[in-house]
């Protein structure tokens, strides 16, 4: 059977595939909910169940529509992309509008755990008054989790009076404990209005430093890379392959380790860098303790880490410039200096611009150098505790959501991530526009 042609065929195939994926996910979730009361299964049961539906389902649909099997080659990559990239992105958008946080995590609050004394249908008798034990007033409508060894069930309270509460469903097991679920709620634009109301304490300075950091890193690295590329491209230079191999070292070491080594080397009292400066007659520099010097330290460490990449990229771009151009220029009596400004640099522009742009996009979200070198610090007055002197947007979002200073404000962190998403996509679109990557795809 032939593949149905045109847009109609594409939409048909797409809806069949997506239908299959949605169906199996739905069965996974429903199956998990059904099993929950009896077995207390781990959450990944959903994935296993979905897979158990997906594989036979795909075979069955393949029998019914033989032309669809060509699309199955996309299925592994597509399902992972949907589940672990697209779904998290959609989830981020949703969470950015909620008050999801450590205290409102959607999990049962163990401090409200109360023993169930007696159970009769949906009616539970607790050992303490419901309103005090579960800390809710009024309690009707709150979600609770009822559990015993190997069983658990989420249910809503219909009514509560004294020590008894009535659930909206009957637990199929003998309940031992009950605890309130700290559900998070939709709060509209509150996270964004918080970011804007505190903009002078966090958003503006962090954004300004983020742009300055990415821009100066790219410029510094490109400058050193360009100089080295030009020097090493000189075919008359002896040992040029040796220099190239040796200078690439900082690229060959795992950055996550070298950045942490630099924390020790930049130490004020004991650091090897300050020891070297002492011999050169420079007083010790507070690399990681002063808000401004910390910025310089980050740029220098990033230069150490990043120049081999730029050097290699420059050498690659230089190798595409034909030698005849230089020979022609020499015949016309051009000095090497004129050849550099007239031939080399203009011809480097086209291959180097995409590299610089993608390097900018990468450094814009270069979390690990900031977080591992300074942790966003040192502290600066008049800032939020999560947005200190060298914090960039991504480390601010991370600290807001996952550090003690941020008090696990996941929703707020998601809102910040959303801002970064917008900026990152804008940079990428500019990159696509300039390089014309999309036109080459076909």
């Amino acid at each position: 059977m032939k593949h149905p042609p045109g847009l109609k065929g594409f939409l048909l195939a797409l809806s069949l595939l997506l239908g299959l994926l949605i169906l199996s996910t739905g069965v996974g979730i429903l199956g998990y909910l059904a099993l929950e009361a009896y077995l207390a299964p781990p959450g990944w049961t959903i994935l296993v169940l979905a897979l158990l539906v997906l594989v036979p389902g795909a075979v069955l649909v393949g029998r019914l529509f033989p032309w669809l099997t060509d699309w199955y080659y996309f299925l592994p990559a597509l399902s992972f992309l949907l589940a672990f990239t697209l779904y998290p992105i959609a989830l981020t958008v949703y969470l950015a509008f909620t008050d999801y946080s450590g205290a409102r995590s959607g999990f049962p609050d163990r401090s409200t755990e109360t023993r169930v004394v007696a159970q009769e249908g949906p009616r539970l008798l607790l050992e303490e008054p419901v309103e005090e034990a579960l800390r809710c007033r009024p309690c009707a409508g709150e979600t609770v989790e009822v559990y015993a060894e190997g069983h658990r069930l989420r249910a809503r309270i219909l009514e509560a009076e004294g020590n008894t509460l009535v659930l909206d469903r009957i637990p199929p097991f003998q309940a031992a404990f009950v605890a309130k679920v700290n559900a998070f709620r939709f709060v509209g634009l509150r996270n964004f209005s918080f970011i804007l109301s505190q903009a002078s304490k966090a958003l503006f300075p962090v954004f300004a430093w983020n742009v300055a950091f990415a821009l100066s890193t790219v410029l510094l690295n490109a400058l050193l890379g360009l100089i080295l590329g030009l020097v090493l491209n000189n075919k008359a230079l002896k040992l040029r392959n040796f220099y190239r191999t040796v200078l690439i070292i900082s690229w060959a070491l795992p950055g996550v380790i070298t950045v942490q080594v630099f924390v020790a080397l930049l130490n004020y009292n004991f650091g090897a860098i300050n020891r070297l400066l002492g011999v050169l007659g420079i007083y010790p520099i507070p690399w990681l303790n002063d808000p401004d010097w910390a910025k310089v330290a980050i740029l220098l460490v990033n230069l150490w880490l990043g120049f081999p990449y730029m050097m290699t990229a420059t050498l690659g771009a230089l190798s595409t410039i034909p030698d005849e151009l230089y020979e022609a220029a020499k015949v016309d009596g051009a000095t090497p200096w004129q050849a550099l400004w007239g031939i080399t640099l203009p011809l480097l522009e086209k291959p180097m611009v995409p590299i610089l742009l993608s390097s900018f996009a990468f450094n814009f979200n270069n979390f690990y150098i900031i977080y591992l070198l300074t942790g966003g610090g040192p502290a600066q007055e008049g800032r939020l505790a999560t947005a200190q002197a060298t914090d960039i947007l991504i480390s601010w979002a991370y600290k807001t959501a996952f550090s003690a200073e941020g008090q696990s404000a996941y929703g707020l962190g998601a809102a910040i991530s959303l801002l970064i998403f917008a900026i990152t996509v804008a940079i990428s679109l500019v990159n696509f526009r300039i390089t014309g990557a999309l036109r080459e795809v076909r």
């Binding site: 990944w44 690659g316 591992l372 991530s417």
Partner: protein, 439 residues
């Protein structure tokens, strides 16, 4: 006009840097004129350094003048000494740069052999040589492997694991030997064959070792005794991620390259590229939520799944490009003979694609080895940390006492990637700078 604007911008930037240096970096509050206790301070040391540099340049100048004069006299030609002089100055510049770039590396390697933590203390050696006293050249009076010994303390290996280790070591030795022979002799076919086989053996041995080691075998006290466990965790996570990348992208890359008849192939391709624009770790809150719901926090499975989003687009793209460079005539012939698409893919294309799979695997392996954001989020227990997260526990603790051990751990943790990078340098360079050069 454009040139004027460029000059203006550069001038503005330079003035900004000057202002920043004067008012923010070298003001009285930030740059205090006091010498750290126990350190060496040479007033006007930079002037001496400049003097030495100038002397070297002068020496190069004299040498090139003398050499050219001599050569001109003997050969009776008239050549300019300047190319030789500039060549010498270039070498000088490159060597100074090498010294600067390697300074941190040398300091760390030296510190890893120094059990007394001499390099991270107030103690000042008294050798009479300025650079040694200042510890600019690392002063290690009694080098020993004590720091490394602390990292492997209490590690119990079963006999078959020792065997695997020996096997891996022998394979590594063989690979290195053949690599050396390749440099010395002219490359031959048996070298490629055996190097491939030995590399495969090495990979299998390392992977088997990583799989069979269990946290119970690391009985040493203190967190540093868990270091090898972290290395094993990292290998497991990175290896699985690389494998998953190959598995997920192979079929999609094939379909993109060969199924040109499918309507809507282009929109799907666009979708893959657009998804790549969203760095996965930006959705870290959502991924944390997702993994906590799936009860996969603090598991390797959870971390590998979280990585999987970021690896698909790139791998698919690379494999698609590779297949498009292979002529489809062989496949068409097979299809005429009645082979199905699946048979064509598995029997013809997969064996041809081995180098590409190695490339995708290696890039993902090295990439995840250095990943920190998600690892720090997902891996919360000491026993499931990877190398990056584990080292972080040293830097947040007391440096003075653990600096030597930290240095040893850094050296050991960097070695695998260093070997991989220099062993497969062409792969990495072409992989990361793809797009720079379009033939």
């Amino acid at each position: 006009m454009r040139r004027l604007l460029a000059f203006l911008l550069v001038g503005l930037a330079l003035y900004g840097i000057y202002w920043f240096a004067l008012n923010r970096l070298f003001d009285a509050g930030s740059y205090r004129k006091q010498v750290a206790f126990g350190s060496v301070f040479v007033p006007y040391g930079w002037a001496y350094a400049l003097g030495i540099l100038l002397g070297l340049v002068l020496a190069i100048l004299l040498y090139s003048l003398a050499y050219t004069a001599l050569a001109n006299r003997i050969q009776g030609r008239k050549r300019s000494p300047w190319p030789l002089f500039w060549q010498g100055v270039t070498h000088l510049f490159l060597w100074i740069l090498i010294l600067l770039v390697y300074y941190p590396v040398v300091q760390v390697v030296a510190a890893s052999f120094d059990p007394t933590n001499n390099l991270f203390s107030f103690r000042r050696p008294d050798t009479g040589f300025l650079l040694l006293d200042a510890k600019v050249i690392p002063y290690v009076p009694e080098p020993s492997l004590e720091n490394y010994a602390k990292l492997v303390e209490g590690v119990v290996l079963y006999p078959y694991q020792v065997g695997l280790l020996l096997l891996g070591g022998l394979a590594l030795l063989g690979v290195a030997l053949i690599g050396l022979l390749r440099r010395l002799l002219t490359p031959e076919d048996w070298m490629d064959f055996w190097q491939g086989r030995l590399l495969l053996l090495l990979t299998l041995a390392v992977f088997a070792l990583a799989l069979t080691l269990s946290p119970r075998q690391f009985t040493g006290q203190g967190t540093e005794a868990k270091f090898l466990l972290w290395v094993r965790n990292t290998f497991l996570i990175s290896g699985l991620t690389g494998l998953l990348a190959v598995l997920l992208t192979a079929t999609a890359g094939y379909a993109f390259a060969r199924f040109r008849h499918l309507p809507g192939r282009y929109p799907v391709l666009l979708f893959f590229i657009f998804v790549q624009m969203f760095p996965g770790f930006l959705a870290l809150v959502a991924i944390y939520y997702l993994l906590s719901r799936l009860d996969l926090l603090n598991t390797f499975t959870g971390l590998v799944l979280a990585y999987s989003g970021g690896i698909i687009s790139f791998g698919t793209w690379v494999y698609k490009g590779y297949l498009e460079s292979i002529s489809p005539s062989l496949e068409e012939a097979a299809m005429v003979d009645g082979a199905t698409r699946w048979q064509v893919f598995t029997k013809i294309l997969l064996p041809l694609s081995a180098p590409m799979f190695v490339f995708v695997f290696l890039l993902q392996f090295v990439g995840t080895y250095s990943e920190f954001v998600l690892a720090n989020l997902v891996l919360t227990g000491v026993e499931s940390w990877n190398v990056g997260v584990g080292l972080r526990s040293f830097t947040t603790g007391q440096f003075q006492t653990k600096w030597g051990i930290f240095a040893a751990a850094s050296v050991l943790g960097s070695l695998p990637i260093l070997f991989l990078f220099y062993g497969f340098q062409q792969y990495f360079v072409s992989g990361y700078t793809a797009g720079a050069v379009k033939e």
